[in-house]
Symmetry: C2
Subunit: 493 residues, 2 copies
């Protein structure tokens, strides 16, 4: 088929009404707000994990989009009927899996306004308020975290993207001409390596794969008994690589690992990175938030010396997904890795343009919800809530510690408890099976949802606290379900 | 500072109320809905481009976050006072810059509900409804675009990310062991190259840089008089590379270039890719939407043969940013590039997990707004609206064509008109300056916002139509402003 001539489509004004009429936006908007308020008030009426099988929703939906538009009432009714019961309720106060993230009222309302403005803040000119509010709120957050001035911050969707961008900047900082000449087919280029602990998040691997380092370019450094990166092992790995011509590209330290919230010894790691001139990136996606609490500020000790650091307000700072913040002391390297300005994006203003700091060109107005949240709760209000979450984790930890057949498998530093049921006279292999069965048992209740990990090769359970609505009652209920489950599943004898 | 012992933080329940009370979510939610409805009804009360200088908003905001929380009324008042007047109004029917994107009432309400659910659909288990609704809506959209069955779709934030992921899959498909061994320091690896037209989007370059191909691995293929990739030049470039040992990795064709909406000859390019066994990725981020209109379906001719294709519902399908869809016939390559399943993310279900198809682990429930939009407008309703936008572009094109001192500089295939003021007795250099001045002149009105490009090296203006609220009146007003501006700025003589 060929492109039609200009005359082939009549030059008529649009024949149909355009958007939803404003009076319907108002009317259905109120319906939506009522749903949201009722849902937040009564999230506990839902099972945390829905009782659905894979494919169930798909089978309940038509195979094709409707030809003619449908009334919005019908769409909302289907949302109630089909979507809500097939949703894992991250808002449920009994959601203790992975990292328990939390949105909030002000965050939701900020997101709604951002969706209405529909700004793409790729350039200052395309979103002056979005660009500047991102600068301002990230400077507020920097201060709240006790990080030094001079850090440049940008908001990305997820920590995986932030870490990818940080490591791309680290690659650029090698000054090996990779931006110009690439990596493939170059006899002059050494192999490159990234270092992180055995407990680091899989996003480090994903970033290394994407950047062309390969799995063979990833060094998983051994950890100590508390699952923290061993600085001596890091030094050895670096020196071994240097001896065989491998160029260290970056070290990724983690403050708050996904498995057990272990905090790598960043001050010692920073010493090593400075001595060896290696980019230091810190994954504080979850744990960084704790630095808002004065007595937990140690969690970011040494991070002022990092070249880059990621912290996710959508994890433990009450901002709905997605909102991941990448700070760097060396924004010129981020720009060096990514900045490209084609003619159609040139503007007259000599401004900082957010598109120059990552892969994504389009950028939602994510700073709006962050601004709403930081102002509504205030620094002290956020610290109080985080302190409460840590206290709840410790409450649960004391229950584990007091029980003869349960044990914690890692220190409880922040709001996650890693533990295991270890009934007497069972082998480690038995215990793996028993813990898996126990996890299924308590999750089947619909009242709580915990997840698992492996520590030292052995199956372990995780109780992660992070939701604004979680209270002592929910934590103690989780413990009661675990005790009941253990009693029901206990091996005979 | 050391991590405190377990006893150092009191085991108390949280001392403060937790989230915004539900009654306040309801009350302020209604305030927010009223604001949104009023804004959508009266967007024209705002200047499209705000009359602000860089730094203005920053200077108006406090240097630090408040210590104590603030009343939500005060936050909303500041939103009205500070954010709205410093916003570039992408919703304004006179927004004709870049690609004029459009949200919609149902899209906004869908985004608000998604923010409330706050689901992270990394795994089926973490978001059954989000995972399956993404599959269903993307299959609906595939059918609407006339694409064949068997395409696997995922939603990403932006086309830049989608194209990065697609090219990572293309790199994986080379079967050169890059996932395992990386690219640096490998004598066995040839240089790699990506091919796209001289008019392709800068996201192709960003992806190539990120993946380690370098600027030297990007081949910008010459275009014909209509700014479409020249297949003969593509073949030559591929053969030249092969002759000197460069391995072609991917060809990126564009259907609807950013500068002028040129449509590359995908059928011929697909022939070449098949003959040479090269991954074909199609950037249909903007133009793909047009395929919903039966008489514009030619825009995706040949795309059924692509290995991957990106189309952005947040551009011209009434979905608020962000929502970019990546389709691929070879999802196993996408998984090969990105899939990594650490213990803490293992689940029992044998399901498709969205985290395996890209860099981002966290995934918002973006399918919800897409579902709302597709159902509310229906296939026919969307086609009618797009047809209307194309008709408006053609209306504007006829005005340009009829004016002796204006000329179009590229065919008007879709909803963008690329044109230039070319007063008699002026040199091309004069014309560049005059067009730049004319652009500033009309944009200063606050009534419209156009952007520019370069075609054949010469400065040109772009009028892009895409907003649901744009009507004949707005297009004719843009033309009147251009005529007035030309009269005011016309060179003497």
């Amino acid at each position: 088929m060929q492109a039609p001539q200009l005359s082939a489509i009549d030059v008529d004004p649009p024949r149909v009404s355009t958007d939803m009429p404003p009076e319907d936006v108002r009317r259905f908007g109120r319906d939506v707000v009522d749903r949201i308020a009722a849902y937040l008030e009564r999230t506990e009426d839902w099972r945390v994990l829905p009782a659905v099988e894979p494919g169930g929703l798909r089978a309940a939906l038509p195979a094709s989009a409707p030809e003619e538009g449908e009334p919005f009432e019908a769409i909302l009714a289907d949302f109630d009927r089909l979507i809500m019961p097939a949703t894992t309720h991250w808002n449920h106060p009994g959601f203790f899996a992975w990292f328990s993230i939390t949105g909030s009222g002000p965050g939701i309302l900020g997101e709604a306004l951002a969706a209405a403005l529909n700004v793409n803040a790729m350039l200052w000119r395309s979103g002056p308020a979005a660009t500047e509010l991102e600068e301002v709120t990230l400077d507020w957050l920097r201060q709240m975290l006790g990080l030094p001035a001079g850090l440049d911050g940008t908001i990305n969707d997820t920590a995986s993207s932030s870490t990818l961008y940080a490591l791309a900047a680290a690659r650029e900082a090698l000054d090996l001409g990779i931006r110009e000449h690439g990596m493939a087919g170059r006899a002059d280029l050494p192999p490159l390596a990234v270092y992180c602990s055995a407990e680091a998040h899989s996003s480090v691997d994903k970033a290394a794969l994407t950047l062309g380092l390969g799995t063979s370019g990833i060094r998983r450094i051994a950890t100590d008994a508390d699952l923290r990166m061993d600085p001596a092992a890091l030094v050895s790995a670096i020196h071994e690589d240097l001896a065989r011509g491998v160029r260290p590209m970056a070290v990724v330290a983690t403050t708050g690992t996904t498995s057990t919230t272990a905090v790598d010894p960043v001050p010692q790691i920073a010493d090593i990175c400075e001595a060896e001139d290696i980019w230091l990136h810190v994954d504080a996606a979850y744990g960084g938030a704790a630095a808002v609490v004065p007595e937990l500020r140690w969690v970011l000790d040494g991070c002022e010396r990092a070249d880059s650091l990621v912290v996710n307000p959508h994890k433990w700072l009450f901002v709905p997904v997605d909102c991941s913040v990448l700070y760097t002391r060396r924004p010129e390297m981020l720009r060096g890795a990514f900045s490209l300005v084609p003619e159609y994006l040139r503007t007259r203003e000599d401004t900082r343009n957010l598109m120059d700091y990552g892969v994504a060109l389009g950028r939602r107005f994510r700073a709006l919800k962050l601004w709403f949240v930081l102002r509504y709760f205030g620094t002290a209000g956020i610290a109080d809530r985080l302190r409460g979450h840590v206290a709840l984790a410790r409450l649960f930890a004391t229950r584990v510690d007091r029980h003869p057949a349960f044990e914690r498998v890692a220190p409880t530093l922040l709001s996650v408890v890693a533990f295991r049921w270890a009934p007497p006279h069972t082998t480690p292999e038995d215990q793996d099976r028993l813990n898996e069965a126990l996890l299924d048992h308590v999750n089947a209740s619909g009242e709580v949802f915990l997840s698992h990990t492996r520590v030292g090769g052995r199956y372990a359970l995780r109780l992660a606290i992070g939701n604004l609505k979680t209270t002592e009652r929910h934590v103690l209920r989780a413990w009661a379900l675990l005790e009941e489950g253990a009693a029901a599943l206990a091996p005979a004898g």
